[in-house]
Amino acid sequence: MNGGMRYTRRKITGHLMFALSLFAALCTVLVLFWILGYVFIKGASGLNLDFFTKLPTPVGVPGGGMANAIVGSIEVVGMAALMAVPIGVATAIYLSEYGRGQLANVVRFTADVLSGVPAIVAGIVAYALVVSSMGRFSAFSGSVALALLMLPIIIRSAEEIFLTVPNTLREASLALGVPKWRTIMKIVIATAGGGLMTGIMLAIARVGGEAAPLLFTAFSNSFWNIRPDQPIATLPVQLFNYAISPYEDWHRKAWAAALVLIFMVLVLNVWAKWYALRNSPKG
């Protein structure tokens, strides 16, 4: 049994397409390793104890580090999480446990719209809300911008996770006479706990690397500062400023900062993936 010319052409087309799609996949893998490789190699040479402990030196003077930026990032992201997580989780509880009808739809729609806000626009909103009224840049305004970005992410992932908690658990609890609110707190949240943490971690990973909304809210600071009402240095903004500067030494530090960011992102994502794989054998 054999085909004819047409058949051979069909086969060749099939093989060609397979090769092309394989090529596309390989290219992306290659690009990932290219980027990661560069960041690791160039960043490693700039990473030393000073990087983590010293303040930046004046313009053009080599040496110093990004200690204040690292602390600043933790503070800004931390405050953002403090604002976004309660609101986000509460809204997710509303959407999955209480909300029926129009109001829930409007809330969900708003969350969807918020998820489409570009990072830089979130910065503008925070600027208009906080920087304008306070009259200066501040860590708090940066947190507001990041919280705006985290909120829709947390709402969506938390709602998804709550929906995976089987109804039978809720029913069992309610049948035992446990009031609804305690059912939610004890059963739903407890069951969803790990997945919830993962969702929050991923949201943090997302905004932790953002510079755009911080450029004109948290701004930057060459010195130590932890006061939320003052401008503060953050790792992404520092990376950006150093990278576009003309100084070799600062370029090295920018790569090092990139390495730190990548490391944080990788760790959080791998952890989230491991957690997800461990908890859903159905794959």
């Binding site: 397979f18 992306t28 708003t110 719209v113 570009p118 503008i124 755009a212 790569w255």
Partner: protein, 312 residues
Amino acid sequence: MRIGRENSHNEGERAFKGLIMLFSLIVLVIGGLVVYELVSASDLSFKKFGFGFLLGTQWDPVQEVFGALPFIWGTFYTSTLALLLALPVSLGIAIFLTELAPGWLRQPIGFVIELLAAIPSLVYGIWGLFVLAPIFQTYVEPFLGRFSFLPFFTGYPLGLGILTASVIVAGMIVPTISAISREVMYTVPDSQREGGLALGMTRWEVVSKVVVPYSRSGILGAVILGYGRALGETMAVTMVIGNTPKISLSLFEPGYTISSALANEFAEAVSKMHVSALVELGLILFFISIIINTFAKLLLWRMNRGMKVSGV
């Protein structure tokens, strides 16, 4: 969930529900605030320039003359080019992972795509600035310069410009488009594939004649979402686009997008008019993003629904 009675006489129950509702309403307030702040802060500029703002080509903070056209042009030009570059690669990956790849390869490569999606824009930017731009300046652009009879390849190869920015953004939206396309293609029922196979289709024909047509709405939604992401991309673009408000077809020229203009100028803008004009730029970007994202989500939602309708 109507199981169980809501005992609204219970104090704890009411307090809890009240708290939950309060927080959810805060979300609505936030939504309103976002729009309100953008509109009111751009009011000054809007009152002065009106809709001519969209067509104005001059951007002069000193003379306080502001026009958005170069930024709108740059935004759409780079995003469209990025989409054209990203499209075949994204679809190729999606098809490879859902239909053609052997089982053991799927998870690892899928994970690689996820990692690429998680890399912050800044890192793409710094890599583009120090690694890709020099390569483009030394090799790629001179090579493309041979085709300078086309308006796209005229000008002096600088390495920093529209082309580099578009390529970087393309790389950033590939994970987005391919991830959603994969999800969509994954939901095509096996009975459809088997119907094609039983007719004597090759693997590739099953993909191109059965799977892709079946999921075309969803794939389109994925593509549009990717486009939306490209439009809002800030840091990577800012670092490689050259930051010059120019309107030109040439890919070698530097340009400017709405988001990079905001990134560069907002912190230092002094005059109220300047700030207001920048906010108006942000408002434009906001509207474009919302419209595109909503459209994409509509398509994806319709795809989900359509499947339940066409199944027997």
